[in-house]
């Protein structure tokens, strides 16, 4: 009569190991999803800040719109608290076609978790023909 009355130690150990592995996998999955959500929030915030700078520049006198002046604009604390070495860079050039305007390309450069992040970029134009005298 070799009837079993309970689990063996090996069976119980395997069950515990499998349970632990499942919990770790679920926790890692949730952590990854969270990181993704945080990254999306950060990207949205970067978009807001680059739009804010665009609006600010639109109110500057045309003579003040230079790459140096734009680079001198400090990065807002909402970004510097989450990104390392965040800074603005810009290319400013005058164009004649299709309209007389100043073309500005804004870039937000930064490092994230020790890696250089692809810069958020925005190009826009300010018409100079109509109110360049202001």
């Amino acid at each position: 009569m070799n009837r079993r009355a309970a689990f063996t130690v090996l069976e119980v150990t395997i069950a515990i190991v499998l349970l632990s592995a499942a919990v770790v996998a679920v926790a890692q999955f949730v952590a990854t999803v969270n990181q993704g959500l945080r990254d999306r929030g950060l990207v949205r915030q970067m978009g807001w800040e680059i739009e804010n700078l665009r609006e600010k520049i639109s109110s500057w006198p045309l003579a003040d719109i230079t790459a140096e002046n734009i680079s001198a604009v400090p990065c807002p604390p909402s970004l510097t608290s989450q990104l390392d070495e965040a800074r603005w860079e810009a290319d400013v050039q005058s164009i004649e076609v299709p309209l007389q305007a100043t073309q500005i390309t804004l870039r937000l450069k930064c490092t994230l978790n020790g890696q250089v992040a692809a810069p958020e970029q925005l190009t826009f134009w300010i018409e100079t023909g109509a109110d360049s005298a202001r």
Binding site: R3, R4, A5, A6, V9, V12, I16, L19, S20, V23, V26, A27, V30, A31, V33, N34, L37, R38, R40, G41, R44, Q45, W48, E51, N52, E55, K56, S58, S59, W60, P61, L62, P76, P77, S78, S81, D131, R134
Partner: protein, 208 residues
């Protein structure tokens, strides 16, 4: 010799009593230890998963609020861009019965403190289009940010934007530049983990 032989025979033949005492499973102590280990692992797992799901839920909520704010900001920027005239009017949040006309008429005192010292000021951002026929007003209410569109005296549309908890928007205007710059600053209570966000919009019409 005989005695020895007899004892050997007794040892060799297993008694029914001894056979019954043979172990077929874990002893009670092992079982208790095992149950304790399993219980602690299960509790730890439950706590880890609960924390993870809570954090996930918070992140998702924050993301949804951010999406809604994005829509609000887009609408607000469009309105400011289209405005020829931008004004900031002060009102009072606690006196909720005020009307826009009462504020315009100066019937509601600006910056007057209440007996309980409550912070009660609210700013109306009023945007007027170039034809002077449409007026858009933004102001903070208890439930969020209210956008009202008026054509002449008639109220044409009202939109209520819910802000993240304990958030309130403060508007400011800077007319020193080439164009009027309007800033909306979303602030939270000091205890809130959320950080202040600022949006800037520039009226397209140049300053005089």
């Amino acid at each position: 010799m005989l005695g020895k032989k007899g004892s050997t025979t007794r040892a060799f033949v297993a008694s029914p009593l001894r056979r019954r005492r043979r172990r077929s499973a874990m002893i009670l102590l092992e079982l208790v230890a095992l149950v304790a280990i399993i219980a602690s692992i299960m509790s730890l797992s439950a706590v880890v998963m609960l924390q993870a799901f809570r954090a996930h839920s918070e992140a998702l909520k924050h993301l949804r609020q951010t999406e809604q704010l994005q829509q609000l900001v887009q609408r607000w920027r469009q309105d400011v861009h289209a405005a020829a005239q931008v004004e900031l009017l002060q009102g009072d949040l606690l006196e909720h019965e005020w009307s826009r006309d009462a504020v315009l008429a100066g019937e509601i005192p600006n910056g007057e403190e209440h007996d309980d010292g409550a912070v009660s000021r609210v700013a109306f951002l009023q945007l007027t289009d170039p034809t002077n026929s449409k007026q858009i007003t933004y102001h903070q209410t208890r439930n969020g940010l209210l956008r009202e569109l008026r054509e002449g005296a008639a109220l044409v549309a009202t939109e209520q934007w819910t802000l993240p908890e304990s958030g309130h928007i403060l508007f400011s205007i800077d007319e020193s530049g080439r164009r009027t710059v309007v800033t909306a600053r979303l602030e939270y209570a000091p205890a809130s983990p959320l950080t202040t966000i600022e949006w800037i919009a520039c009226a397209e019409a140049p300053n005089e």
